[in-house]
Structure formats: C-alpha cells, structure tokens
C-alpha cells in the first residue's frame, strides 16, 4: 500500500517574523526555513506505518519554489522512499495546492494521503480537508492516533471537549495533530542516503492545474501591541486587581 505525504517549506517555528515596512508581506529575506512541523509529524507517521509493514511505499510531495527540494530531502531522510516537487514561483493558496495534490493522487493512486493539519505560516488549516473533498474521500483531521487494519484507517482525532475515533474505508485523507508522534532526529547516514533517492520535478502546467490565487493580499500589518504591564512585589499586590475582577462577574 502506498501513501502520499504533503510537506510545506515554511519559516522555522523559532523565528520571530517581521512585517515589511511597505506592508506588502512579512520579510522572508535571510530567514531560516524548515519543514512545517505538522508535516514532519505526517512523514514520521507514514514512515512508522511502513516500518510496521502497513505501507510499502511513502511518496513525499511539496509544491512551491525550487528550494522546496531541501524540504523534500528532509522528508527522504526521515523515511520517505521518493519525492515529487511541483515546482512553481507562483504564490500558492490552499485550494490550488489541494488541486495539485489531487492531480498527483490521480497519477500515483495511493490509498492514504497524510498532511499536517495546518502550516505555521498562513495558519489556514484547509488543504487536507479540501483534498478530501476534491477526491470525494473520507477525512480524519487533527489525528492523535492512527491504525490501519483490513482496508480501514482507525483514527483518533482531537475535537473540542475531547477525542473521537473514526473508521475510514480507504482510500482516505488524514491530517496530523501535535500528539500523533514525536518525529525522529535525522541522522547523517540517512541524510547521505536521502541524497541518492529519486526526486521528480513536475509543474502545475504539466499537471493541467490553474493555480491562480482567489484571495488578494491587500496588506500585512503588525498586530496591535499590548501596553507594558507592571511587576508586582508579592501575592498581596495581586489580590486587589483579581478581586476587582471577581466583583465584576
């Protein structure tokens, strides 16, 4: 059984981003880029499913500019067997990415597609659900546990107020939440091996997909700053402001 795993190259989660002075976007010049953390969890989960004998092949996919190859090499070092880059300089929005992924699913015919639940740059949380919709496949978002048994994916998902477990008849789409697994450290030998793995490059045109954006960014601004607070010397000094709160309730 084959799985496709989508990965996105994003600003590293430790970087404190800045807004450009012309308000056109955030400033990404000379900023450290990494694989989106939720996608790392997705690759790790697929790799574990392969190690457990559930999957036979894990194909990592990324959509974007040429340096996304680095992201795919990381995916290959974690455990993907091969990779596909849909290369474009166009700014891609979730609906466009979902369409590109659908075109690759049509070619590759995986039984499972695993994606991160959201990218930490645009925080959209859309692509997995959109892909499931376009494929008319069942979806299990925000997964915290995945089992594959007898042609079904049994997925526990994080919902408001607790957890629920879904049984999906494959093929299906799963998006990962934080507690699904802890991705392994990538070792040097695996990085070396990853360099020799196959990485194909295609384009939106070759897949016949229109990736024109549906949303136009008018501007990007700093959020309003909070006024500077005060340090209090002891617990007694906290009681008064908190008591005011209790009385107002």
């Amino acid at each position: 059984m084959k799985a496709l795993v989508a990965t996105k190259r994003v600003v590293d989660y430790n970087v404190k981003i800045r807004v450009k002075s012309d308000q056109s976007d955030v400033d990404l010049a000379n900023v450290k880029m990494s694989m989106n953390p939720f996608d790392e969890i997705a690759i790790e989960e697929a790799t574990r499913l392969k190690e457990r004998g559930v999957l036979t092949e894990v194909v990592a996919v990324s959509c974007g500019i040429a340096p996304c190859q680095e992201t795919l090499r990381t995916a290959l070092a974690i455990g993907a067997d091969r990779a596909i880059l849909v290369q474009t300089d166009a700014a891609l929005q979730p609906l466009a990415v979902a369409k590109l992924l659908k075109a690759l699913v049509d070619q590759e015919q995986p039984q499972l597609v695993i994606l991160g639940k959201q990218a930490i740059d645009d925080d959209a949380n859309q692509t997995g659900q959109m892909l499931a919709a376009l494929l008319d496949w069942p979806q299990a978002t925000f997964a915290s546990h995945v089992d594959v048994v007898d042609g079904k994916a049994i997925v526990t998902r994080e919902i408001d107020g607790g957890l629920e477990t879904l049984s999906l008849t494959l093929p299906a789409v799963i998006t990962t939440d934080l507690r699904l697994n802890e991705p392994r450290y990538v070792t040097l030998p695996n990085i070396m091996k990853a360099k020799k793995k196959r990485l194909d490059i295609v384009t939106p045109d070759s897949l016949g997909i229109d990736v024109a954006p549906r949303l136009h960014t008018v501007k990007v601004t700093e959020p309003p700053a909070r006024p500077v607070g005060i340090r209090v010397p002891d617990v007694a000094a906290l009681v008064e402001p908190l008591k005011t709160h209790v009385k107002a309730a």
């Binding site: 959109m130 892909l131 979806q139 978002t141 959020p223």
Partner: protein, 312 residues
Amino acid sequence: MTILVIAEHDATGLRSATANAVTAARQLGMDVHVLIAGAHASAAAQAAAHFLGVTRVLVAEGPALVDGRAEPVTALVLTIASRYAYIVLPATAAGKNLAPRIAARLDVAQISDVIAIESPDTFQRPIYAGNAIATVRSIDAIKVLTIRTTAFDINPNADEPAPIEALLPIEDTSRAVLVRRELATSVRPELTAARAVVAGGRGMGSADNFRLLEPLADALGAALGASRAAVDAGYAPNDWQVGQTGKIVAPQLYVAVGISGAIQHLAGMKDSRMIVAINKDPEAPVFGVADFGLVADLFDAVPKLSNALSAT
C-alpha cells in the same frame, strides 16, 4: 443576497460559538439564515431563532447527520449553497474540519479565522501565530469564512423569533463511521467561552500539581487551560491547550501559571482583557504581555493567592 451560518450544537443546546458567528454575519449587512444539522436540533433551533439578525432557521435531522461528520454535513450544505452569498462557520475544531470541505466542493477559497470584516469582500485574519495580520480580498462568488469567535461579541436576543424550516434528510454515503467519542465532563465553564481562565505550563511539574490550580479557578469562576508543553508532558488533557494550534481564548482575565510564554502560546491568549503571569523566571517572555507580573515560586504563590481570594 443571504448569509448561511452553520451552527454548532450538542444535546444541551446551541454552543455559544454559533452566536459569535451570527454577530460576524450580521456585520455583512444581509439576511442571516442559521443551519442546524444533527440530533437534538429542535431545542437548538428555538435558541437560534431568537438571535438578532436571524431571519430563518433551517433544521436538518436524520441518521446521516447525527454525529456531525464532515462528509454528510457537506453534502447537506451543497444542496442549498447556491442560495447564499456567504457561508460562515465558527473557527472551532468542528468548523475547521467542515468549512474547507464545503469550500473546495464549491471551488472557492476559504478565509480562515476572520477577526474583522472591513467590507463585503475584504477581511482581516491573523497569520504567523498572530504575529502579523493579513487583510485579504476575496474574488469568489460564494465566500466561505470561519470566524474567530473571540473577535465578535454576542448580541442581545431579538424580540420576535425567526421562522423555523425543516430541510429534507440526506442519504448517508460517507465512508467514515464514528466509532466512539470521549468527551470530558467538567463543572467549569467552557474554555473558549469563559470570563476567566487559569492556565498552567510545564512549570507545574506534574498532573497532580495541576490540581493546585483548581482552588484558584474556583475562586475566580475560571476555566482551566494549559500550554502545549504541559499537554505534551501529560499534565493536562489535550482539549485544554491554548495556543496557535490549540484553542484561541480572549477572556476578561487570563492567569498564566508556570508558563514561560512561547510565541505559539501567546498567540492563543494575548487578546485577553487582563493578563496575570506568575513565573519564577524573571526573563520569561510571558511577562512581556502580562498586565501584572509576579516573579515567584508558583507552589508558594498560588495557594496563598487562592486563600486570599476565597477569604474575601
């Protein structure tokens, strides 16, 4: 033109996030219809019919819809979507699960986590964990929005209820089946709707120590929350997580205990009215957003604070 708000409800009635979504929808200046799909829909429909600005409530019941799976609810919405200019959902776990599925089937973009409506086609939304605000304009004919509930206050009720209309049930063709649902029961207010939140971080040290926060939460009438670090360490359940990828809260009062204040956590609470931080590390970033900061050992300070508040 008309707006469709997709409600969220359970056996006890409508969830408050629905009212926040209706407030956002009203700002678009059109008639608002509310769709309630699933079990126990009648009581929820009565409540939604009284929301200010709602001109019709649509109710759909039947076995396909009882457990709120995204596939059948999407199929239901698609049967009526062409009547609407906007489809609005709260950006809750359920709304986030459903909205993109609907948008993709309509071949339109979805605008996530809207915090302000500038004009009928222009919206503000946070990006990069709230460290930047993007203003975006949609060119799609039907606009699918999820709204950040904390950014839209709940309106008072209308005098006259709106009419309630039943939709035809739909067939269940989904290949997803609900096996079980484990919901935590709590006597405390719901985290995203609470007036006060007491949240603990890794500094709490253990799940047992987390109970230290209960008397403080009792004294403040607060919900309990946690940082990702505390949830990952198993000190608190996952649905307590406040942050970029957990719950976004903006209560009147947020008390952060033993939370250092990673960017991802601050993203989930920095719009709270008053923030109080207790941490033994004077350099902790949480003090950067706190109105009142106390550098202290939480194991000493929290019981003292709880006692002082209960005594009054």
